[in-house]
């Protein structure tokens, strides 16, 4: 059972109050993109073992989308942040690097 802090309403929300929204920070490829770009955008997900950035929806709460950094192996939540961004905040990244020096920012 995950307990994730909603950055909007400050609730330590338990997993059943939330809905998982998949990989975060996807770059959208629209009508003018090539077929492979569009396919990539629609279907291809990283599914990383280790640190992942994902979207969560506080469904049974304030109804806002937010992002969370989580380790898919240990289920550790490193932090959450509002969704109005295309990159994880620098503070969070340096915090994760300190905890997991071997992590290469998903590359």
């Amino acid at each position: 059972m995950l307990v994730i802090l909603c950055p909007y309403c400050g609730v330590e929300a338990e997993e059943t109050e939330l809905t998982a929204g998949g990989e975060a920070h996807l770059e959208r490829f629209g009508p003018s993109s090539s077929d492979s770009e569009f396919e990539n955008y629609l279907f291809m997900r990283k599914n990383e073992k280790g640190i992942t950035f994902e979207r969560w929806h506080h469904t049974y709460g304030c109804g806002k989308w937010f992002h969370a950094a989580r380790c898919s192996m240990t289920m550790e939540i490193f932090g959450t942040y509002p969704a109005q961004t295309s990159k994880p905040p620098k503070k969070l990244i340096s915090m994760i690097k300190k905890k997991r020096p071997e992590w290469g920012e998903g590359k």
Partner: protein, 187 residues
């Protein structure tokens, strides 16, 4: 709006706590950027109440503002005065980007009274009821249905649900507050 005077069903149960459907209340949903000073001031001016802090309510003389989301408030007023308040809010929020909706007919309010209210709700909501203090509000779920509730007194909770599921919520509360069914863990 509906005339509830004759048609309203009575929902009343007394077990470990008293469960009762409240008399119809005027409910207004306000959506908008609450950080904008003009919206903030307009609401305060109309309702003569301070803006509630995150996850709390502010109330006085039958008027209440409940925090629902960073951009949403639920305003409770007298059932007969809803239209008047909406007009007033529209006047005081003029020029701002917002949405007002009269949801009096869309929601139902239950009044839960008794020493075991926290434990009864704990049976169906993931909220840690031990941490909920007077005037704290939470939007969460009860069983599988979305509800919102706030602590009026230490032994009294008001719970809002969609009106279409009133009966289900009532029956749920009835089962959850059956005599001798509380673990007596909280207080």
């Amino acid at each position: 709006m509906s005339d509830y005077n004759n048609s309203i069903e009575t929902f009343f149960y007394k077990g470990e706590i008293t469960v009762e459907l409240s008399k119809p209340k005027g409910m207004i949903t306000l959506k908008g950027d609450l950080e904008r000073s003009n919206i903030n001031a307009g609401v305060i001016k109309t309702l003569e109440l301070p803006m509630p802090k995150v996850r709390t309510i502010s109330r006085k003389d039958g008027v209440q503002i409940s925090w629902m989301a960073p951009d949403e408030l639920l305003i409770l007023v007298d059932f007969k005065k809803v239209e008047k308040y909406i007009e007033l809010l529209e006047k005081n929020l003029k020029g701002e980007h917002y949405l007002l909706a009269n949801v009096s007919d869309a929601r139902a309010i239950f009044n839960l009274k008794g020493k075991g209210v926290r434990e009864v709700l704990s049976k169906g909501t993931p909220v840690n009821m031990e941490t909920i203090k007077i005037d704290d509000a939470r939007r969460s779920r009860l069983g599988q249905l979305p509800v919102a509730f706030w602590m009026v007194k230490n032994t009294e909770v008001e719970l809002v649900c969609f009106r279409s599921v009133t009966e289900f919520i009532f029956n749920w509360l009835k089962v959850a507050s059956a005599p001798n069914s509380l673990p007596r863990y909280i207080d």
